[in-house]
């Protein structure tokens, strides 16, 4: 067995052994921030104040408890029982971003979104944004009713106004993001028919127009194909972050993970090449990752085409030579796994996408991994039309404009022009639910319901349908936008009736069912999804690659000398539509580990050349100018980025999103280039960056909670080694005792716990974990975890119960500085979810002076908030650094009202999970392994007089995980999935289970705290000498 000799580091600070990093690394809690230190010395007055308060508090406590009311329903709905959750299948759709969901409601309030397992698309999985979107329902920024001329109005007035204005407006444009709802389109069509002269223009903030345009050129039909990453043995991605933000990341992540899971029974996995400019989530998971410049990307695609064409015996195209590492190897692998290969590109350039289509065609992927027949509807945006619209608007050729749930002033490349042009339209209407950048400029705002208050239907893919149903009565005087369209078309049908009629006349006639329509409707509503069998002929190419190839070879160059800007998307904030959800703002980005900001990612080389240094949170600012537009942004040195490339994320710089998002970061959409007919996210010319020298602080969590240089936290190997020896990459620490070396678990002070009924445990497959952080947000929603805001993150006081530790690694010996420098420019990346390990020999339990943290008879390490006195000894003694201290009262505190909205205003509080205590100041908290769910699951089993079935109880993080990287279950139940994964055969009540799975290990096994969380070694599908 080969010991793992890699060097791991979380941030450059650690790699460079930065003094500040060293200072903080061995402290559980940093020194008090200086601001507090100054105010911290209590004066005599403060002492008196405090004493006065205590007296008042004591006398108050002596009074009678306040009279509390219990207010039952007048007429209790039969399905709603206080304290019993109800679940409704519905759909999350924001533009073309889609997920079939199940909404958990308590007392009529939606409190949690999970994936719908019946959906063939996302199969019960969600991502961070879908999890977080629930808080937008309770957003204070939502408007209370329709607005007219900037004033709150009423529907009658607004309707009359809109109707007459639209009738006389002339050409009416409806601007929208991708609409995947057939009934919505029908309602809009009805409006168009009634009004005449109406055009629907769709655009997507994260445009994939290049793909649909290329499909039109190459296959004769402007469609978005379905991708099947699960069928691919070789995956090559040119800058497509299909695990983080590209088209349908939940679906793709789920498919991708299926090819990455390995076991003795299936010792094979896909191989993934990524050629990209900035380090994306997909790139971080790639086996081979090559940083390339955006200006080279087209040529790289051409080079791959030529390499494949040579093997296929097809004609090559002439293209400038470009040196791209691993490209030949990728071509060889693609060809070897012909028809189980997949090549994707994130480029929005239609010409590049034509070449991608041609490559997939050569590989026989069309119909297997890429399906142009069973099309997806996630992206219908047409950049060309949208460009035309902006031009028309400014030229005064648009009579009326209706913005249907979209915010182009903020998220379209030419947003500023739209803002200037809106006034030129005779009538401007928006259906947005808040007065955002766009709707604050229009004459009439006819706010739509939130998606959790709406009826709707969706067709995300051909033949796949889903329904959305309201899970709460409308909180405000809003109206479904579709109904508004119907009203303005002179139709008074409610949208619900319209929708049902549409289904009765359409889909119901296509399904084979013997029941009535009502039965069919009820069943579909219950399931949330409906699949219609539809066979479609595979599309054959009608276009030619040569024209596109020559265009590509002209547009791209192998040696661009000027700076390039790549505008990318972060997995937490996405396109910025949910930027006002503080959970997403505080989610530390899996790559940069930064919160509450966007920043210019630069290479280490550029930083050294320009005298920019970065250490921990301290950084400086730069000024970036793109074709005349300038922004001042903080700098973040990002390993893995192509030389000469700068990266900037969209989704920030909102000005009218609300108190959480306003003023956070800068708006990168402004820098997008729409001059070539498509929205270009890769700006390869006219980019100037200069460091301003102003200092700035970015709240990054990457060096928080480190393991202080302990080894073997990450254990990994490569596929070929794993196939030879399943325990490859494992470290087996041994302890010297009485003349021999023994396993650490053989030496213990403790006699060991006995778990007679359940023994809860978690298995985490680091091969499947892609770092998407859905678990983090899911945990935050489920467990009422407070948001602390940027300043407190800077003070190292973030509260996340589950964090994703991102490690960079390299084989280069740590003392070989020049080798490390190379390595750090393109390191390997490993993600490790870290939460309370629920140790059987828990170090925290033994040091608590008040027994506030104790061990349960089911293997859980319990935390009792009301007993905790806040000594923080437990956190100091926790080797995994997973305990979080409530430094402040984060709820009902005006100082945190702007960030911790879920615990501070009446509306936001509706999202809180009533089964979990909101923690007070001065107490410790940590992952409880969702003990409230465990208790609820056990109770249900007891009530039904049966045993707990595997799968009855699941923790929030594992439920959300799109890749099933986390598996929770009862280790005492030998049939549970977790027991089988860990290969625990015997049924023992002992806390120490014999785990026979060779890949499974405990982090820090040598200290024998005996966690109930196991990690599976990470296996990369790399050649040995390169690993």
């Amino acid at each position: 067995m080969k010991e793992n000799k890699k060097t791991y580091w979380k941030g450059l600070e650690q790699l460079n052994n930065d003094p500040e990093f060293v200072k903080n690394a061995d402290r559980e809690f940093p020194e008090l921030p200086s601001t507090l230190n100054e105010e911290g010395s209590a004066s005599r007055r403060d002492f008196l104040k405090v004493m006065g308060f205590s007296l008042a508090a004591a006398s108050l406590a002596a009074c009678e408890a306040p009279v509390r009311k219990m207010i039952p329903y007048v007429n209790k709905p039969v399905d709603i029982n206080p304290s019993v959750p109800n679940y409704y299948a519905s759909t999350y759709a924001t533009g073309g971003d889609y997920a079939s969901i199940v909404v958990k409601t308590r007392e009529g309030r939606p409190i949690k979104i999970d994936g719908n397992e019946l959906s063939p698309i996302n199969k019960g999985k969600v991502n961070a944004i879908v999890e977080g979107s629930i808080l937008s329902l309770y957003d204070k920024e939502r408007i209370a009713g329709p607005y007219s001329g900037g004033q709150l109005s009423d529907w009658k007035t607004v309707d009359a106004q809109a109707k007459s204005a639209l009738a006389s407006a002339g050409a009416v444009k409806i601007v929208a993001n991708t609409i995947i709802s057939p009934s919505t389109l029908k309602a809009i069509q009805q409006f168009a028919d009634a009004n005449g002269n109406v055009e629907v223009i769709m655009y997507d903030p994260l445009s994939n127009y290049g793909i649909t345009k290329a499909a039109e050129t190459y296959y004769g039909s402007a469609v978005l194909p379905s991708y099947s990453f699960d069928k691919a043995k070789t995956i090559v991605s040119f800058g497509a972050d299909f695990l983080g933000s590209w088209i349908s990341p939940i679906e793709f992540a789920r498919q991708y993970a299926q090819t990455r899971k390995i076991s003795k029974e299936k010792p094979e996995m896909s191989r993934h090449y990524q050629f990209e400019s900035t380090l994306s989530l997909a790139g971080a998971n790639a086996d081979y990752r090559t940083p390339i410049r955006a200006s080279q990307s087209g040529l790289a695609v051409l080079a791959l085409y030529n390499a494949i064409a040579k093997k296929a015996g097809a004609a090559t195209v002439s293209a400038p030579a470009v040196e791209i590492a691993h490209l030949e190897k990728a071509a060889a692998d693609l060809w070897a796994s012909k028809s189980a290969s997949l090549v994707v590109s994130g480029s929005n350039d239609p010409n590049v996408q034509v070449v991608i289509n041609a490559i997939n065609e050569l590989l026989g992927s069309n119909g297997t991994t890429v399906d142009f027949a069973n099309v997806a509807h996630y992206r219908k945006g047409d950049d060309a039309k949208m460009n035309q619209f902006v031009t028309d608007l400014n030229a005064g050729r648009v009579g009326g404009v209706i913005f249907y749930n979209c915010n182009p002033v903020y998220d379209f490349a030419r947003g500023a022009e739209i803002a200037a042009g809106i006034a030129k339209a005779k009538v401007s209407i928006s259906t947005n639910g808040t007065l955002d950048e766009t709707s604050s400029l229009v004459q009439i705002v006819a706010p739509d319901h939130h998606f959790l208050e709406s009826w709707n239907d969706f067709e995300p893919k051909k033949g796949h349908f889903s329904l959305a149903q309201p899970t709460i009565s409308p909180l405000f005087d809003t109206r479904q936008a579709q109904e508004s369209f119907l009203v303005w078309a002179g139709d008074t049908t409610s949208y619900y009736d319209f929708l049902q009629a549409n289904w009765q006349g359409g889909l119901f006639t296509q399904v084979e069912t013997s029941g009535t329509f009502q039965e069919f409707w009820d069943q579909t509503l219950y399931n949330g999804v409906l699949a219609i069998n539809s066979t479609s002929e595979a599309l054959a190419p009608v276009g030619d690659v040569s024209a596109a190839a020559s265009a590509v070879s002209k547009a791209y160059s192998a040696d661009n000398a000027s700076a390039e800007l790549v505008i990318y998307t972060k997995v937490g904030i996405g396109n910025g539509a949910y930027a006002n959800v503080p959970w997403l703002q505080e989610l530390s980005d899996p790559i940069s580990k930064a919160t509450w900001d966007n920043y210019l990612t630069v290479t280490q080389k550029w930083a050294s050349e320009n005298g920019v240094t970065q250490s921990e949170e301290h950084t400086s600012k730069a000024s970036i100018t793109v074709n005349g537009k300038s922004l001042i942004v903080p700098i973040l040195i990002q390993p893995g980025q192509a030389e000469g490339t700068f990266g900037l994320a969209v989704g920030y710089g909102r000005t009218k999103a609300g108190r959480v998002a306003n003023g956070v970061g800068v708006n990168a959409y402004e820098l997008l280039d729409a001059s070539k007919g498509f929205v270009n996210f890769d700006i390869t010319s006219g980019v100037e960056v200069s460091a301003t020298g102003d200092s700035y602080k970015i709240a990054r969590t990457q060096t928080h909670q480190t393991f202080m240089g302990r080894e073997n936290v990450i254990q990994e190997s490569v596929l070929s080694e794993y196939q030879k020896d399943a325990s490859a990459g494992r470290s087996h620490p041994q302890i010297y005792k009485d003349g021999e070396f023994v396993k650490p678990s053989k030496i213990s002070l403790w006699s060991g716990h006995q778990y007679s009924q359940h023994h809860w445990g978690l298995a985490i497959d680091m091969n499947s974990c892609i770092g998407c952080s859905a678990c983090s947000v899911a945990c935050q929603v489920e467990n009422n975890v407070a948001v602390v805001g940027k300043q407190e993150v800077l003070n190292r006081r973030e509260m996340a119960w589950i964090r994703i530790d991102r490690y960079y690694s390299s084989d280069a010996p740590a003392d070989d500085l020049s080798a490390m420098e190379v390595a750090s420019s393109n390191p390997e990346v490993t993600f490790q979810p870290m939460m309370c390990q629920q140790c059987n020999n828990a170090p925290c339990e033994t040091v608590c002076p008040v027994a506030a943290t104790t061990h349960s008879s089911e293997g859980l390490n319990q935390m009792t908030y009301n007993r905790c006195i806040g000594t923080r000894y437990c956190a100091n003694n926790c080797p995994y650094k997973v305990r979080r201290f409530n430094w402040f009262k984060y709820h009902d505190n005006k100082d945190f009202a702007g960030v911790n909205v879920a615990q501070n205003d009446d509306l936001g509080k509706m999202v809180l999970n009533p089964d979990v205590t909101v923690r007070a100041r001065g107490v410790m908290e940590k992952c409880s392994m969702c003990v409230q769910r465990i208790q609820a699951g056990k109770l249900e089993a007891k009530r039904e007089k049966r045993k707990v079935k595997d799968g009855d109880i699941n923790v929030a993080c594992a439920v959300a995980c799109p890749t099933d990287a986390l598996v929770f279950g009862d280790l005492n139940d030998s049939n549970s999935k977790v027991s089988q994964l860990l290969k625990i055969e015997e049924n023992t009540t002992s806390a120490l289970k014999e785990v026979n799975e060779e890949r499974a290990y405990h982090v820090l096994e040598e200290i024998n705290v005996s966690p109930n969380v196991w990690y599976f070694t990470k296996i990369r599908n790399k050649d040995l000498n390169e690993a």
Partner: protein
């Protein structure tokens, strides 16, 4: 009510002497159709059916929302009674005179249909109706009461006894002090008369200097210690009682009487507190549940007119304005308590925690609802494991032990069972 029942009886049983009928009431001598089964099994099965389906509106020997049922098969043919139970409206619609009259007599109150009852169910039900228990309801209440009392007494010697014992002890000690004082004075007087040497004389005749005693260190220390102990004890007791609202019985917006509904009328607790077997909250009944009965029952004990208290329900329903009850049991938010766990799984009687609720005119908090109170019960309570597969493994593992399997043995004292 008795007289009214007998009138019905008289009218329907022309051949029965009214006097005889009066004598027979309450002695289980209703004439019943001979085809009705009177076996114990049938009666038992019928009782269960009666309790779930009929008891809300009917009693055997007492008029409630609907008529008293005993003797039903004598008043109408058995088959007709069965079809009436199944679908009363159909029978009335068919024009049966007896049932039509009955319908009118009860203000055209419709009885819901029970189509789901099988013929065997109906036979059992009728068996119970005719031959079912006539036991005095008061006896049942008394039993429940005794149980409740036993649980309350489980905590040790009651407080009032302790006080009495202490008082007696203090009196005895004082008496001993007085007697000792007397003895000293007698002895002193005696010694003073004796011929003693100087030293002894001085010793005997020395006056006890009270001032000196008061100023002595020992005295100051003892008194201070006593005062401190007393203050501490008072403070601690005070602190322990902070937030404990035992006996809290606030005035409610409607003078609802559990004694009447749960006690006299024997309405099952679950009828109104619908959530008690489903989840955490037992549920305060919504007004529509009240209206199930109070659509017809408009005043107490059959009095004329609408009771002002019942009128409040009507107002709530008419104005769609919920009734704001005052919460009696205020468990702190940090403690998770689930009714269904205790009622369904633990099979704990409501009275165990809520006290003799069926006797309370105004509901008060019976138990302390402190953590110590919870834990005490968890220490003592045995688990109902029989027939519950969830506990199989625990029972098996516990089988070596002599003691019964109690809540404490399966983690019932662990923090995260209630605090999370």
């Amino acid at each position: 009510m008795l007289s009214k029942r007998s009138l019905v009886g008289v009218r329907l049983n022309f051949h029965t002497l009214a006097v005889l009928f009066f004598l027979l009431i309450g002695t289980q001598a209703f004439a019943a159709d001979p085809s009705v089964d009177n076996s114990d099994e049938a009666v038992a099965a019928g009782k269960a059916l009666f309790n779930t389906n009929c008891k809300t509106c009917h009693r055997l020997d007492q008029k409630l929302v609907g008529p008293a049922l005993r003797g039903a098969t004598d008043r109408a043919p058995v088959e007709l009674v069965k079809s009436f139970i199944k679908n009363s409206q159909a029978v009335i619609a068919s024009g049966n005179a007896y049932y039509s009259d009955l319908y009118k007599e009860y203000n055209n109150t419709m009885m819901i249909s029970h189509e789901f009852l099988s013929d065997e169910d109906l036979n059992n039900l009728l068996a119970y109706i005719e031959y079912g228990d006539t036991a005095d309801p008061a006896a049942a209440t008394a039993t429940g009461d005794a149980e409740g009392g036993a649980v309350a007494a489980g905590g040790g010697i009651p407080n009032e006894y302790l006080t009495i014992i202490l008082g007696v002890l203090v009196v005895v000690l004082l008496l001993i002090l007085i007697v000792l004082g007397l003895i000293i004075s007698v002895l002193t007087k005696y010694l003073a008369k004796q011929d003693l040497d100087e030293d002894d004389k001085e010793f005997v005749s020395q006056k006890t200097n009270l001032g000196k005693v008061f100023k002595s260190d020992m005295f100051v220390v003892i008194v201070t210690a006593l005062v401190v102990a007393l203050v501490a004890k008072t403070a601690l007791d005070g602190l322990y009682s902070v937030g404990v609202q035992q006996g809290y019985a606030p005035e409610q917006p409607i003078a609802y009487s559990h004694a009447l509904h749960a006690g006299t009328l024997e309405i099952e607790c679950q009828y109104c507190h619908t959530g008690v077997e489903l989840g955490k909250s037992a549920n305060i009944p919504s007004a529509n549940i009240c209206m199930n009965c109070h659509t017809h029952v408009q005043n107490v004990q059959g009095a004329e007119g609408v009771s002002p208290e019942i009128q409040k329900i009507y107002d709530a329903v008419d104005n769609n304005q919920p009734i704001e009850w005052v919460r009696v049991h205020n468990l702190p938010d940090l403690a998770y308590f689930n009714h269904s766990q205790h009622v369904v799984v633990g099979e704990v009687e409501c009275q165990t925690c809520h006290g003799p609720i069926q006797e309370m005119e105004v509901v008060g908090q019976h138990s302390a609802l402190t953590m110590g109170w919870c834990i005490d019960c968890h220490r003592q309570t045995e688990i109902t494991t029989e027939g519950n597969a969830y506990y199989d493994k625990l029972v098996q593992i516990h089988s070596d032990s002599k003691d019964a399997l109690k809540v404490k043995d399966i983690g019932g004292l662990e923090c995260a069972k209630c605090h999370y």
